[in-house]
Symmetry: C2
Subunit: 245 residues, 2 copies
DNA sequence: AATTGTCTTATTGTCGACAATATTACGAAT
DNA sequence: ATTCGTAATATTGTCGACAATAAGACAATT
């Protein structure tokens, strides 16, 4: 009897719930697993999430699964329709624009703060992250490393509020980028990797304490990356519409 | 037998859940009631929220109440500690600073967009809101009108993502301002009303299509208002600390 | 054959009860 | 009197079952 197949190690750390020393609750474990399943592409965008099979697979009751799902709804990764079940979020191009715009606003400030507050140990850590990201072959793992790198910058900024908002904004974006990657693979397109050069310049600017350079690099990086993804999303939607007719 | 005393009309509309035509679920009703209870001061900041009595008062099961509470945790109005219950959020002065800073970042953009996109009917509506706010005697109702006015501006901006984030950021702030007001009343201080002149200038700038003026007014308004509240929060915390010793 | 109404079934919404844990009260030892 | 350990209690964490609803199958009617 195959037990929890979704219960796997966590790639990207969950948002800043300041848990006490008490042991992790079942709900939090379920939440982490489910979030992980979406952010690793095992649950794809637009996919229906049925409660009973999922609860059985995870070995928990539906009540606790629903609480975890509720959290994911607020994190922007799931969508509920009453009596019609939950689906993994699927963003329209205009929503991607909105999210990226908000993200640039908030992350610019985070990067500026990080530039001011970073310590030497953290400088080394960021550079190590970046080198690891450069070496990463697998596009999925590269995407996750990218997410982690940004999250680390947000942490260094020391602005917990902005950090929380950025996690919320970025999670659905990341899920969509995974979806695009998988659809490209299916349709025999070239899997386009992240632009990695901009990372290097961003990190250098943060470490060297030049906040204006850092925010400029950030904005260029985000705009470049996500206009590309936005275009592909729009193309796929257009193709799907065409197939319907 | 006194039934749902917390089930009362909604002062501030809940965040943008795009409900289908289906009837409102019990969970959503509970969520609205609870949110309303916090945002009207019936449940005060720092107050413990026990599940069993509350579920009985609302006439629902604990499971559904917990789902609604989960939503409020993500909206920043409740705090969970495992096996130690939920409390209404209580912000430290530094958190107020963080939230206000993030709010200024996002709301500036919202105001700028609103300035560009506003229609004539909405201009009249905003002015009517503002006049109503001027006339409002009761500080609690004035605060709620203020919240509604800002929310209306966010809606006019047409940026759903920023609107959602702003609701999330502002809700705990509003709850704290209510707490301050009630504590002031208890301690026989003068209940300090919102600075209303800045509202007028903000709305005028939005209606006249001068985005720079509008964002300047907004920043001044928010900074002025919340540094005052922040100071009072700090004073109360200091007083409480002193009483302990 | 197409359409519409009914019935079945799959899935979600809600509930009450039991298990696990923290808090409190209380008594014994120092 | 104080402190520490232990039991009682209150509260939360988790579960399985029943009710309400939507989606799909199927037959009767035109």
């Amino acid at each position: 009897m195959p037990k929890p197949a979704l219960l796997l190690p966590v790639p990207a750390s969950p948002p800043g719930r300041v848990q006490r020393v008490t042991k992790e609750s079942t709900r939090d474990k379920v939440y982490t697993s489910l979030r992980n399943a979406i952010l690793s592409g095992r649950l794809r965008c637009g996919e229906r999430v049925k409660e009973i099979p999922l609860a059985e697979e995870l070995g928990v009751s539906r009540a606790i699964l629903r609480e975890a799902m509720q959290q994911l709804v607020h994190e922007g990764l799931l969508e509920f329709n009453s009596y019609r079940g939950a689906r993994v979020i699927e963003l329209r191009p205009e929503q991607i624009d909105e999210i990226v715009e908000a993200r640039i606003l908030l992350e610019s400030r985070a990067v500026r703060l990080a530039t001011e507050r970073i310590h030497n140990a953290q400088r080394e850590e960021l550079n190590a992250f970046e080198k690891q990201l450069q070496r990463e072959k697998d596009p999925l793992r590269a995407g996750q490393s990218d997410f982690r790198l940004h999250q680390r910058i947000w942490q260094i900024s020391g602005h917990a509020t902005i950090e929380k908002l950025l996690i919320q904004l970025t999670s659905p974006l990341f899920a969509m980028s995974l979806l695009m990657r998988s659809k490209e693979t299916r349709d025999h397109h070239a899997s386009s990797p992240l632009p990695r050069g901009t990372h290097k310049r961003l990190i250098e600017a943060i470490c060297q304490g030049t906040p204006n350079d850092a925010t400029n690099e950030l904005e260029a990086h985000l705009t470049e990356n996500w206009t590309a993804i936005r275009r592909r999303v729009a193309e796929f939607i257009a193709r799907e519409e065409a197939e319907k007719l």
